[in-house]
């Protein structure tokens, strides 16, 4: 596996990585963690399909590709991205090829109590010092280790105590690179302090003819006591993109989090969602939707970890798999020994739209407490012939009827999105895709 070693060396010795660790005196605070993560990645390597968590998703070709950081930054302007905004008034942070593009972002007039910026400008912030790089576990997740070892910029979103912001905050993550084999590390820290409430939408897209991009994103979200975070993840990139996304949420007492993942485009998408209900009376929703076409592979791995009593979680994942595409769903629910009075539910519904489509589902419950109500359900099938006949009998063409039924199937996931404007935008994107 000399190629694997070479790749590691290539990524780890790239100029950006060197700059971050050695050149900038401001990051000394994190230098030790970054070094440790680099070593951890070297010892873990790129997982193979022998690894139970990667059974259905083969990412070993990442090890055979010599990735480089893109030189292409700051090409986007505020005008160019206007149409991509989730709502007209959204607070937008543009991240171009892994680096914040301040010119295209609108961060000048933020509501009172909301701070958004690059890690480089917020190193002295107490919350950043406390949480940055602290929650996603690089010791067991090779791609978190790689991300930590190679990050060049990071976005921090901090909502102070009692601050409620209704305006959506959009992380617009755009790949404008034109080179082949580009590596884009993305790192986000969201801290919602006590009694605060925020809406975050992260959108991944790519422009131009970028060949073979590897996006490696790590998002860490802290939800403090009685805080509320609504989070939407939209993944709509080119089919040359391999996207690995690790999203970690740590929840405190009485907190609420709603997370919707929409995987609508990309070559290979792997989402690792890890929600820890770390104190009593937490409520967590996880919704997910996949539209997979051509040779796409979309893999959702979720972990809902009930560590404390009196919590509620509800998970709904729907997958539409067409052409030769493959869908993977693995939903783990852990109920720890002390987490009595837990209610945890999970539902996974899959539609196969072509003869060559494949769906691999593995819902998984691990329960260590007795006074709980937990259930999961998983179904895989095709569109109901009778529903189709019903519509066709009323003069609706077959293609239109199928689109209508697919839309109805998918829209349920969208219904959970709290912000009306964001929901509308997401539905528009979905409709465009389903046409």
């Amino acid at each position: 596996m000399s190629t694997l070693q070479e790749t590691k060396n290539k990524i780890l010795t790239s100029a950006v990585f060197e700059n971050w660790v050695n050149a900038s005196p401001r990051v000394n605070a994190f230098a030790a963690t970054i070094q440790e993560a680099a070593h951890s990645f070297l010892s873990q390597g790129i997982p193979t399909t022998k690894h139970e968590e990667w059974k259905y998703t083969n990412v070993t070709r990442l090890a055979q590709t010599p990735f480089e950081i893109s030189a292409n930054i700051n090409t986007l302007t505020a005008a160019a991205i206007a149409n991509e905004k989730v709502t007209a008034d959204a607070i937008v942070v543009v991240i171009e090829n892994g680096i914040i593009n301040h010119a295209a972002s609108n961060l000048s007039d933020l509501p009172q109590g909301l701070m958004i910026g690059s890690i480089h400008d917020m190193l002295e912030n107490a919350e950043v010092k406390k949480h940055f790089l602290q929650h996603a576990d690089y010791k067991t997740e090779p791609f978190v280790a790689l991300n930590t070892a190679t990050l060049s910029d990071a976005v921090c979103i901090l909502a102070a105590a009692n601050v409620e912001v209704d305006t959506p905050i959009q992380l617009m993550i755009v790949n404008t690179s034109t080179e082949a084999n580009v590596y884009i590390p993305i790192r986000v820290l969201v801290v919602a302090d006590k009694n605060s409430a925020i809406q975050v939408t992260e959108t991944f897209s790519s422009t131009g003819n970028n060949a073979s991009t590897f996006v490696n994103a790590v998002i860490e979200v802290m939800v403090a006591d009685n805080a509320k975070v609504n989070y939407v993840k939209l993944q709509d990139e080119s089919e040359n993109t391999t996207h690995i996304n690790y999203h970690r949420v740590a929840m405190a007492r009485d907190s609420y989090q709603h997370l919707t993942t929409l995987s609508l485009g990309g070559g290979l998408i792997r989402n690792n969602l890890n929600i820890r209900l770390g104190d009593v009376n937490c409520t967590a929703y996880l919704n997910g939707l996949t539209l997979a076409r051509n040779n796409q592979l979309v893999d959702h791995h979720t972990v809902v970890d009930h560590a404390m009593p009196h919590c509620y979680s509800n998970e709904l994942y729907k997958n539409l798999i067409d052409d030769q595409a493959q869908g993977v769903f693995n939903g783990k629910i852990f109920v720890r020994k002390d987490a009595q009075k837990t209610n945890a539910f999970q539902s996974n519904k899959n539609l196969l739209l072509s003869d060559d489509a494949t769906m691999n589902a593995k819902p998984q419950l691990e329960i260590f407490a007795d006074d709980v109500k937990c259930s999961h359900g998983a179904t895989t099938g095709q569109l109901d012939d009778e529903s189709l006949f019903y519509l066709r009998a009323r003069g609706i063409g077959e293609d239109a009827a199928r689109a209508l039924l697919n839309h109805a199937f998918a829209a349920e996931v969208m219904e959970g999105i709290a912000h009306e404007g964001v929901k509308e935008k997401m539905l528009d994107i979905l409709n465009e895709k389903l046409k």
């Binding site: 060559d356 489509a357 494949t358 769906m359 589902a361 419950l365 691990e366 998983a378 895989t380």
Partner: protein
């Protein structure tokens, strides 16, 4: 809560009822495993050359394999050199009638409550009893032979019907399949063989009783059932072992071949010694069971009631190769004290219009862990395949665990696959309802648990259903009347 705790304590204090040792002289092989032992076993059984070759091939393959670590169980590593691989009760003579049976063995069966005499007269069940490694007695052979049904010990079948054994041995579970299947193929000592000819409906239940008796032995039996076109057979299997401090290994292989329009129903009541309440001793039950529906419209149905063993690792599976074939899996797995069970099924759909049903009920108490692990695989060729799975877990304490690992792999769009799982405890309102009507908490739990398992018990043949209910009662003693 205090009632619950009391019940749990009582449950933990309940004892294994089948923990006697029969004082039968046995003829043991030396401890350990090497090619000589494999040759020794083969020679002891006077086996033909091809079977010895098969064993040696399996043994050599086994040496290249490592123990699987993926099951959700923890146990001390098995020392494969510290096991006696062959233990035959002496004197080893061919028996013609029950009267010739060693009185000690007969007493053993009487204690087990499966008196061969009684079974023969009343239950109309043909029994093949396997103690330690050797098949002791097969009843009703002549009656079955009239219909052309072959029901004998595996060793006899090797001599009397080598063509059948040669054709089907390893055809469903090849020795390359897994670590324990390879081990079994190398050292299997005896087991049952059953062949139902074309169009014959077996007039009675066929049954095998397995018992590990000698200390330090492993039991490696092999069962091969072949149902030819249009035939039907219902097969029962029961297991017990004496109480011992050390862990004993049981690594069996069951292979079922069901031809076109044939039906095989295989029921197991597994009650190996589960170890004491501190988890000392008990049987490691690492079993490979698999059936193949070779022809159109064939059917294989597994029903299992698993109450024993310290560690269980068992996935009775069906390969649905023929079009319109049907696979079923009904399971109740009870774990108590320190027991661990990782059990479930695999349904591999290959043929068109195949359907499978999985009903699994797990009950865990004490500090036990109960896992359901199942695979439903719909191949690209399996048009209109249908699967329904339901796996429920019931927790009877706050120190036990229930785990579900279902794998659903679907590669055909016309397939319909449904899976649902729930985990809960016995409802306080249900117990209250019973209490209110003068039913004690203990009886109420029994009532509820029995009702919970009813779907599976209904699948068992009548005599077995009664036994299964009794077993469940004893496994959960203290909570069930």
């Amino acid at each position: 809560m205090s009632d619950d705790l009391k019940i749990l304590e009582d449950v933990a204090n309940s004892e294994y009822k089948w923990g006697f040792v029969s004082n039968i002289e046995s003829d043991n092989a030396p401890k350990g495993l090497n090619e000589d032992i494999v040759r020794f076993i083969s020679a002891k059984k006077n086996e033909p050359e091809w079977l010895l070759e098969y064993r040696l091939k399996a043994f050599r393959h086994w040496q290249t394999m490592t123990e699987p670590v993926w099951p959700n169980v923890t146990y001390p590593k098995v020392d494969f050199q510290d096991i006696i691989y062959y233990s035959a009760p002496k004197p080893k003579v061919q028996l013609d009638s029950l009267d010739d049976l060693d009185p000690e063995i007969k007493a053993t069966f009487d204690k087990l409550g499966i008196s061969l005499e009684e079974q023969k007269r009343l239950a109309n069940v043909a029994v093949d009893a396997v103690i330690d490694s050797v098949s002791v007695k097969t009843t009703f052979r002549e009656t079955l032979l009239e219909k052309g049904i072959i029901f004998s010990s595996f060793s006899e079948a090797v001599h009397e019907h080598p063509e059948l054994v040669k054709k089907y041995l390893g055809s469903v579970v090849p020795y390359t399949d897994n670590f324990y299947a390879a081990l079994n193929a190398a050292v299997f000592s005896d087991g049952s063989f059953c062949y139902i000819p074309k169009g014959v409906r077996c007039p009675m239940e066929l049954s095998t009783y397995f018992r590990i008796n000698s200390a330090g032995t492993g039991q490696f039996e092999r069962t091969l059932i072949i149902a030819d076109e249009g035939s039907y057979v219902s097969y029962l299997e029961g297991c017990t072992a004496p109480m011992r401090d050390e862990n004993q290994l049981h690594a069996a292989v069951v292979e079922i071949v069901s031809h076109a329009e044939a039906q095989v129903k295989y029921s197991t009541v597994q009650n190996w010694y589960p170890g004491d309440k501190e988890g000392k001793g008990g049987i490691f039950n690492f079993v490979t069971k698999r059936g193949i529906c070779l022809g159109n419209k064939s059917k294989i149905s597994w029903t299992q009631v698993e109450t024993g063993s310290a560690v269980t690792w068992k996935y009775p599976s069906v390969i649905l190769k023929g079009d319109n074939s049907v696979g079923e899996f009904y399971s109740v797995a009870v774990t108590n004290n320190m027991q661990q069970a990782d059990t479930g099924t695999k349904m591999i759909h290959i043929g068109k219009n195949t359907s499978s049903t999985i009903i699994s009920k797990g009950i865990s108490g004490g500090r036990s862990h109960n896992s359901y692990r199942g695979l439903v695989k719909i191949n690209k060729s399996a048009d209109n395949a249908r699967n329904f799975s339901q796996c429920d877990s019931l927790l009877l304490g706050d120190q036990c665990g229930a785990h579900t690992f279902p794998y659903l792999e679907v590669s055909n769009k016309s397939a319909k696959v449904e899976h649902e799982a729930t985990t809960s405890k016995v409802g306080e309102d249900q117990i209250f309802y019973c209490n209110q009507r003068g039913i004690s908490t203990e009886d109420a739990v029994g009532l509820i648990v029995n009702g919970y398992c009813k779907e599976v018990f209904n699948q068992l043949p009548m005599e077995f259903a009664v036994e299964a209910q009794k077993l469940l009662a004893i496994s959960l003693e203290g909570s069930v009347g």
